[in-house]
């Protein structure tokens, strides 16, 4: 099939490339160097969501990608527009999320002259992108766009940035969109080595105390079904990382919750006592392993990951399998048999019963965990997006996720201010779902200006502020490790959040009593409008259980606060 070439400007070519990649929505903010691109957008079919800060454009593209599995796209002007994207790009990079960031740049001939609004954004983002490009020739636009989407979404996904000098967007080119990418230096491995898979299957089938430790790679490769099939066939318990919540149904009998610093006791005990850890698309982060030397000290480790550099990066691995998680699990399923795990499952069931996740109900005060339970009760298939802090952990611990891509949270970078703009991206990608941004009074103030975006573009997400008057997670550490010296963590009476919501034209609700929690949630869902609920929660509630940083993950503190 030969394709006719067509003459068009670089700017139109960029938009045409977006079409060809199936992009329906992008998030951006205009400026001088992207004027021609915005002009081309003006009468294009692509929906452009105008955010109020470029960082939000990157987070929204990220949320869109996490919710849909497609590549998210954001657009910013040169200089400050581009540098404002940085935190958003770094957030996506740390969690391996596919986004393409387009930035305007000063004209080619002016690069390097400290021209007005010039920033070396390819240099700045070198360590936080999977790859980046500075366009040098308008004729390269189709090829580079094609490569960017390919690189972002294949192998270990990640952000790709394309920096676009203004003069190239007004030049006329012969547009021809390549069907394939040719990159001799980039060939991710999909298929796992079959010998390794057989070896792993043998080890799994004869293990007495195995645990599956599933990570974000299960979500990004859409491998949940196979994960479940494997767990059920072998009869092995499953724990997931924060970023993999939803990869395995919480109410499944083989599920043992999240592991790590704020994981369940039984997940951490199980890992520590296991004889075989089957890590799938997880990267042995320090929030998970605690003291690395004592992590699963008596277990053999099977590690399935698409990125060879993750193998044996933090822990020694006995059976590495490099490949796509879905593909490898599918193959593994053919060779595994039921393992002799009856005793092990009994032991785990005993732990589950003895050390459940729990909190002590407040008399009069609103417990944050209760809000999460009520949200779940009111809307089981809501998509839960979070900011960063205590509220994030409570959401991960207490919402009963039943499917992948329904828990969306910044894990690796831990970016406060991520959740609200990300939730806008999520809602754009999944307009039929109810989307909650579980937020903190601190985090929300890092992106609150996006209320304007939500209202103007009519993106009805629900912001649930867990208002404790503190930068709670930091306060918790100060309480535990700094003798309750609450140095600069009290933010009580920052603002009247309800009035703030109303000032932007959103619906604002305030909840001070436990009995008002459920009605407010229902009202928000029914309203169909961007809604903010200001929940006044128990101020000094702690996230429990907790493994102190650097301790072994079975050295666990109980921190329920009585009232």
């Amino acid at each position: 099939m030969t394709e006719q070439t067509e003459k068009m400007t670089g700017a139109r070519a960029l938009i045409e490339c977006l079409y060809r990649e199936g992009v329906d929505t992008i998030f951006g903010y205009p400026g001088g160097q992207v004027l021609p691109i915005y002009d081309a957008l003006y009468d294009s079919k692509i929906r452009h969501v105008l955010v109020r800060h470029e960082q939000s454009a990157a987070h929204a593209a990220d949320g869109y990608a996490r919710a849909t599995g497609k590549v998210g796209v954001c657009l910013a002007t040169s200089g400050p527009g581009a540098t404002n994207l940085v935190t958003g790009i770094a957030t996506a990079y740390m969690d391996s999320i596919p986004i393409v960031a387009l930035t305007g740049q000063v004209p080619l001939s002016m690069i390097g002259n400290d021209a007005f609004q010039e920033a070396n954004i390819t240099g700045i983002t070198l360590p936080i992108t999977k790859h980046n490009y500075l366009l040098q020739d308008a004729n390269d636009i189709p090829r580079i766009m094609k490569e960017a989407f390919h690189i972002a979404s294949t192998g270990r996904p990640g952000p790709v940035l394309i920096d676009i000098p203004k003069d190239l967007t007004t030049e006329l080119i012969d547009f021809y969109y390549p069907e394939k990418v040719k990159l001799r230096s980039y060939n991710p491995t999909y298929e796992g080595n079959i010998q390794q898979i057989k070896k792993a299957a043998e080890e799994i089938s004869k293990s007495y105390k195995p645990v599956i430790y599933a990570g974000g790679g299960v979500i990004s490769s859409n491998a949940s079904e196979y994960l479940r099939a494997l767990a059920e066939k072998v009869q092995v318990p499953v724990t997931t990382t924060l970023t993999a919540m939803g990869a395995f149904p919480v109410d499944h009998p083989l599920f043992i919750g999240m592991l790590g610093m704020h994981g369940t006791k039984y997940a951490n005990y199980a890992i520590q006592e296991s004889d075989l850890v089957i890590a799938v698309g997880a990267r042995f982060d320090d929030r998970v392993t605690g003291k690395i030397k004592s992590f699963a000290a008596n277990a053999k480790i099977i590690h399935i990951d698409v990125d060879p550099a993750e193998i044996s990066k933090n822990v020694r691995v006995d059976i590495p399998i490099v490949g796509n998680a879905k593909k490898v699990l599918e193959d593994l399923l053919k060779y595994v048999e039921k393992a002799p795990t009856e005793e092990w499952l009994k032991r785990i069931a005993h732990w589950k019963k003895s050390y459940p996740l729990h909190y002590i109900d407040g008399s009069g005060s609103i417990k944050p965990q209760y809000i999460i339970e009520q949200i779940h009760d009111a809307c089981k298939d809501a998509i839960i997006v979070t900011e960063v802090g205590q509220h994030q952990m409570w959401a991960a611990q207490y919402f009963k996720f039943s499917e992948p891509r329904t828990f969306i949270s910044s894990g690796g970078l831990g970016t406060m201010g991520f959740g609200f703009p990300a939730s806008l991206g999520v809602k754009m990608g999944k307009p039929d779902r109810v989307v909650f941004d579980i937020s903190g009074d601190g985090s929300f103030q890092m992106s609150s200006q996006e209320l304007a975006t939500a209202v103007q573009e009519n993106i009805p997400v629900i912001i649930a502020i867990f208002n404790n008057g503190y930068l709670g997670m930091v306060r918790q550490w100060q309480e535990l490790f700094f003798d309750k010296r609450y140095s600069y963590t009290c933010i009580r009476d920052s603002v009247d959040f309800v009035k703030l919501a109303e000032a932007y034209g959103a619906l604002g609700l305030r909840v001070k009593q436990p009995s008002e929690v459920r009605p407010a949630i229902e009202q928000a869902i029914a309203s169909g409008r961007p809604t903010l609920i200001d929940f006044w929660i128990e101020c000094e509630e702690n996230v429990s259980p907790m493994v102190p940083a650097g301790a072994a993950i079975n050295e666990i503190l109980d921190l329920e606060r009585k009232k």
Partner: protein, 161 residues
């Protein structure tokens, strides 16, 4: 432990900074780095001498391979290779010691490529030890300036990386 890596990369704008940036960011130490275009003008070859144990080397190799512009990474440490480095040494020299210096150069099969009334420039090629040795011998005369290319290496025989 020192390792010599042969890194084939796309001969493209910005690749050197990607590679150098990777080393800086992950805290790896580069002893030397030499780069130039290969027989294929679209490919450059970097010879990187890096210090670290096997685990570090494994991570360096894998992380380099992750860079989109890196085509192939080969550890030449375990291979039978020929290795060379070139150094230019400007040494204090006058009528009194000129011949002594020339003798030293001769022993090392080094070349005198510039002579002035108070200095000489010597070009020496060889492995690291040889360059170290001549440097030691010339030191007493006073080395005014010295520049080294960094090591380059090829496999012996007909196999290439």
């Amino acid at each position: 432990m020192k390792h010599t890596l042969a890194v084939l990369v796309e001969n493209r704008y910005g690749v050197l900074s990607r590679v150098a940036g990777l080393f800086a960011r992950r805290g790896y130490n580069i002893d030397s780095l030499a780069v130039g275009v290969t027989e294929d003008p679209t490919i450059s070859r970097m010879t990187i001498v890096v210090r670290g144990d096997d685990l570090v080397l494994e991570q360096v190799t894998k992380q380099l391979n992750k860079l989109i512009d890196v085509i192939r990474v080969t550890d030449l440490g375990s291979e039978d290779t020929v290795e060379r480095e070139l150094a230019l040494i400007k040494v204090n020299a006058d009528v009194n010691n000129r011949s002594e210096i020339m003798q030293i150069a001769d022993i090392f099969r080094a070349k005198i490529i510039d002579v002035a009334s108070k200095s000489m420039v010597i070009e020496v090629t060889g492995d690291e030890n040889k360059i170290k040795a001549i440097e030691q011998l010339l030191k007493p005369f006073g080395i005014k300036e010295m520049v080294r290319t960094g090591k380059i290496a090829l496999r012996r025989g007909s196999k290439s990386v």
